[in-house]
Symmetry: C2
Amino acid sequence: MSQPARKARRMAEAPAAPRLALAHEAPAGQLPVQLGPLGVQLGFLLRLAQEAAFDAFAARTGQAALRPGRYSILVIIAANPGISQTALGAAAGRDKSTLTPALADLERRGLIRRDRPPQDRRSYALTLTEVGRQVLEGLRHHAAAHDAALEALVGPADRAAFVAVLRRIIQGIGA
Amino acid sequence: MSQPARKARRMAEAPAAPRLALAHEAPAGQLPVQLGPLGVQLGFLLRLAQEAAFDAFAARTGQAALRPGRYSILVIIAANPGISQTALGAAAGRDKSTLTPALADLERRGLIRRDRPPQDRRSYALTLTEVGRQVLEGLRHHAAAHDAALEALVGPADRAAFVAVLRRIIQGIGA
DNA sequence: AACGGATCGTTGGATATCCTACCATCCCCG
DNA sequence: CGGGGATGGTAGGATATCCAACGATCCGTT
């Protein structure tokens, strides 16, 4: 849900070679493209890393129904049965309007249920169906493998430090 | 260019508090939302970190003309006068079709020039104008400040290690 | 009991992305 | 020299995002 659907359409293929080399190899006889200061700027590298990671996860999951964005929705609903759309959006880091078509799609596929709690007819209580649990189980394997692949690159000994840095960025960069 | 224009519209305001707390604080009397395994999954954290960093940079720059995506385009063109659109897209990690409207806009604003090299009338040679250089100069200050803010969170002593991890992810996650 | 402010979720619109197909151009090979 | 494959860039379409505004509902205050 956080990226366009290119990954869904590309997933039937084996993952492509990385789209970008930081030290750009140009065609024979040409100089490589210089990135200037971008090559060491943390924001730019974060973007490239995130997109590469996202692409790789999408490659693993392979089907539109199992796109990374849907995965995080299913995980959060599974962990919080009865959660509202507003709370889900906040937890997933997504605008509530972004969730409207995504949840409609998951409901249509039979992966979740949206019930009107009698005490608040404005909102929905979201829960996974049995089918949804099964689909999520399949996704968890992909997610675990993806996480292991990322951890291999980070270095297992450095994982905790890396996570701590990401959390500090998440919590602190807007201040 | 890597994210929707929400940031452009929001930039006139002071940056909002972070949209997401990893340990979600719920309304009084409610339990916080549980992230389940997402809270420690590297892919999810990378996404949140990247979006938070992007939001923060967009907040600094403030105007649509100076959006982060345009910044990377200007930096790369500045470092590679005469670069083609195809090479620029590859360096920026963007599809060439994504660049078409962005470059048209930059040209319209007088920040770049697109010339037809006589030896290859299929392509364009992209260069910054004097106005483009000036706009880029202003952006560099924002970018440097943003990078410093990120470095403060990463920890100056850990910056090189963090960059190395991001590069390994960029280069290696798709393999 | 009624009113006004707040909230939940949806809709419409805008922006940004990529993929595929196409046209114009280039270049290499037979 | 000509043809065919490749390349540069654009257009159309699909997907995903957020913002603002709206209708329905909730709740607190008077």
